[in-house]
């Protein structure tokens, strides 16, 4: 069997149903083998789009995303997508073509050292040097990408390997001496953690993307049911605990709710589950949680005690650890604390200044999306203000319904990711909440959604600015809007139509709900909704970068 066929056969063994990618010289043999492969191939229009789509597919489904690109520019176009997946622990298998083995290192046509380039942004990568290793490498790649703390794995395949002949046998097991992820938490640590919780007075759970990844939302809910401890989540943790529940504090961090940040700041015990104390969460690290002890449950030992000292580290899978803790724990006595938390929620709700006339407030659009979809959609986001409003004003109740580039903050991520999510979950409505800047970064993928009749809705919160940067310029750089005005813009309605999608422009409040209803009725093509929003609306609350909770800005300061 040819190497190219070994790749396709291996993907069959891994039960791959969708593959994303773009062809080129050195991968033609692999595309030749893909011609009648029994899984769906999605041809992107840019390799970055392919990787983000595979990433969105993986986040929406929990299964690994699979990508193929050619050598040289095809491979380098994948880099941003791979880095995005790496930062957010998303399982991907990325195949890149490589020049013939004998040409490697000669600056051959379309040669780049992609294993070198991606070494710091993959969980692992391979250059296939012998056809005998090919099937084993693919087996290992899937195993490594999907176990422990997941992540992208890249396999660089020289074209002569794709053309070489070898017998196909897919290994049943993998043998990796240096890779043995730990799933079970240490029982002694679990017991100690439970004691600490039982004696705490002001505990808060801080749940992150790890809870989504380990499918531990149910276990988290059971743990909270038994202990009644309030829960805040990170951006990537949205949905692991229903935000509609009394015990939910919603998101914490730079643009988190006042009550989440306040409660964490006041807490005497922070229980971090599958979260990594990112600087967007902690702000000024020296003043973060002044009076709290910390329990940290995470599968990645390198995440524990990295940014914040931890009293009780538990290395293991959130799902198992939470289940075990729920079994043995007794509820702490925290009625007083819950009353405080209730009060905080009542007194400092998430708000914005409503105005019935004038340009639409973006928060209103997001609230309306929540209403019209009954909170049952999958929301993808771009990066910037749109991302934060999407996080704040839509209430997430299920895991894997909020898909966003958290760690890398990649503009242009949301739309291709929405394509992947829609393919993974055809029964769901998928909406990309976008900015007018970000959407232009991967708009070429619109034709992919049209071709595959994917009814993804792109809701552009169009402020004519690179809004989040403009906000920083307004607040911290004397309002000098240096190169952030982008009102020199395409007509998004015509653009949609040119691609064969539906486009609508929404200028007034009255038009918002009808436009959304109309969009939701369309089920056979993508829709662009161009919401003309209030141009200089800011995201609040805001803890300025590198500052502590004390510095929180709640609303517009009058000049």
């Amino acid at each position: 069997m040819k190497g190219a066929d070994i790749i396709v056969e291996s993907l069959k063994q891994e039960k791959v149903e969708h593959m994303f990618g773009y062809p080129g010289g050195v991968v033609i043999p692999i595309f030749h083998a893909l011609y009648n492969a029994p899984f769906r191939f999605i041809l992107s229009r840019h390799e970055q789009g392919a990787v983000h789509a595979a990433d969105g597919y993986a986040r929406a489904s929990g299964r690994p995303g699979v990508v193929i690109a050619t050598s040289g520019p095809g491979a380098t176009n994948c880099v941003t997508g791979i880095a995005t997946a790496h930062m957010d622990s998303v399982p991907l298998i990325v195949f890149t073509g490589q020049v013939k083995r004998e040409q490697i290192g000669n600056d051959a046509f379309q040669e780049v050292d992609i294993t070198g380039i991606t070494r710091p942004i993959t969980k692992h990568n391979y250059l296939v040097q012998d056809i005998k290793d090919l099937a084993r490498i693919i087996k290992e790649a899937f195993y490594i990408a999907t176990t422990g703390r997941p992540g992208p794995v890249l396999i660089d395949v020289p074209v002569d390997i794709s053309n070489a002949e070898y017998k196909f046998s897919y290994p049943e097991t993998v043998h990796l001496r240096g890779y043995k992820p730990v799933y079970e938490g240490h029982p002694g640590q679990i017991k100690k953690a439970c004691q600490l919780i039982e004696n705490s007075k002001r505990p808060v759970i801080y749940a992150g993307g790890g809870v989504v990844i380990s499918n531990a939302s149910k276990e988290l809910r059971e743990f909270v049911k038994k202990t009644q401890i309030p829960v805040t989540t990170t951006l990537l943790g949205l949905g692991v605990y229903p935000e509609t529940d009394r015990l939910s504090l919603e998101m914490l961090g730079m643009h988190g709710t006042y009550y989440a940040n306040h409660a964490v700041n006041e807490s005497d015990l922070l229980i971090a589950v599958g979260a990594r104390f990112d600087d967007r969460v902690t702000g000024k690290i020296a003043e973060f949680i002044p009076s709290a002890e910390v329990i940290h449950i995470d599968i990645d030992p390198a995440s524990v005690s990295k940014n914040v000292p931890v009293n009780i580290p538990i290395v293991g899978d959130c799902k198992q650890v939470l289940a075990e803790m729920t079994q043995i724990i007794k509820a702490p006595e925290i009625d007083e604390w819950l009353a405080v938390v209730d009060g905080l929620k009542r007194e400092h709700p998430l708000t914005y200044e409503k105005n019935d006339k004038g340009r639409i407030k973006p928060q209103f659009v997001v609230e309306e999306i929540y209403k019209q979809t009954k909170g049952d959609a999958i929301i993808c986001t771009e990066v910037g203000q749109n991302q934060m409003w999407a996080a704040q004003f839509y209430k997430y109740t299920q895991p894997r319904t909020f898909i966003s580039s958290g760690g890398l903050g990649t503009m242009g991520y949301g739309f291709p990711a929405a394509i992947g999510a829609q393919l993974a979950r055809p029964e769901k409505r998928v909406i990309d909440i976008a900015g007018d800047g970000s959407i232009q970064m991967n708009i070429q993928e619109l034709i992919v959604a049209v071709q595959h009749r994917l009814p993804v809705i792109i809701a552009i919160l169009n402020n004519g600015f690179l809004g989040m940067v403009r906000q920083w310029q307004q607040l911290f750089y004397e309002k000098r809007y240096s190169h952030t005005c982008i009102d020199f813009a395409p007509d998004f309605v015509k653009l949609a139509e040119a691609y064969g999608a539906v486009g609508m422009r929404i200028d007034t409040y009255e038009e918002v709900a009808p436009a959304l209803q109309k969009a939701l009725e369309i089920t056979d093509r993508p829709i662009i909704l161009d919401f003309r929003i209030s141009r200089e609306e800011n995201v609040y609350p805001m803890v300025p970068a590198g500052q502590s909770f004390k510095e929180i800005i709640m609303r517009e300061l009058l000049a």
Binding site: T115, G116, R119, P120, K123, H124, N125, L127, Q129, I144, L176, R177, G178, Y179, I285, A286, F288, I289, P290, A292, V294, D300, P301, A302, S305, K306, N307, V308, P309
Partner: protein
């Protein structure tokens, strides 16, 4: 909870790795990505054909080295990471020194060499090249004593380090 800056000191880290393509680059880049200069790094064959041991000597502070060790452990091809810094070990290193040796100084240099059990690797009209093995401390002393004669060239292999039984 303040994070404390630790003191900078020298660490000796022993990394057992699968002998695969790219491993050295992966290991080295974990240090360089943090702006750490590696004092020495040796890659040694072991009693197992497909396993090598890297002995890395590096300056750093506690917290960062702790993190680097965890990151090393995350590398798929890394089998085991052991911090030898504060453990009982035997360490050896080898040095080659080419030293100026005018005829009047030759005898002294030979004598010095004998004390350190140096092997005389090469002799030329104006220089002598000596090779010495020993623990790193010993080699430092040897080099110090040769300095007054004028060292023309010097190369140390970097140390290898084994835990004591």
């Amino acid at each position: 909870m303040a994070s404390t800056e630790g003191d900078i000191r020298q660490y000796v880290i022993s990394v057992k790795v699968e002998n695969r393509f790219g491993v050295l680059a992966r290991v080295a880049s974990l240090f360089s990505a943090r702006g750490y200069n590696i004092d020495s790094l040796t890659v040694s064959a072991t009693e197992q054909e497909d396993v090598s041991i890297m002995t890395i000597v590096v300056q750093g502070d506690d917290r960062v080295i702790e993190q680097v060790k965890k990151q090393l452990n995350k590398l798929i091809n890394v089998i085991k990471v052991t911090d030898h810094t504060d453990l009982p070990t035997v360490e050896r290193e080898f040095v080659l020194v080419k030293v100026n040796a005018t005829s009047s100084k030759r005898a002294e240099i030979y004598q010095l060499g004998e004390i350190f059990k140096a092997d005389i690797a090469d002799i030329s009209p104006k220089t002598i090249t000596l090779g010495v093995k020993g623990d790193p401390e010993n080699i430092n002393n040897f080099i110090e004593l040769l300095k007054p004669y004028g060292i023309k060239e010097l190369m140390r292999t970097g140390r290898v380090s084994l835990l004591k039984e």
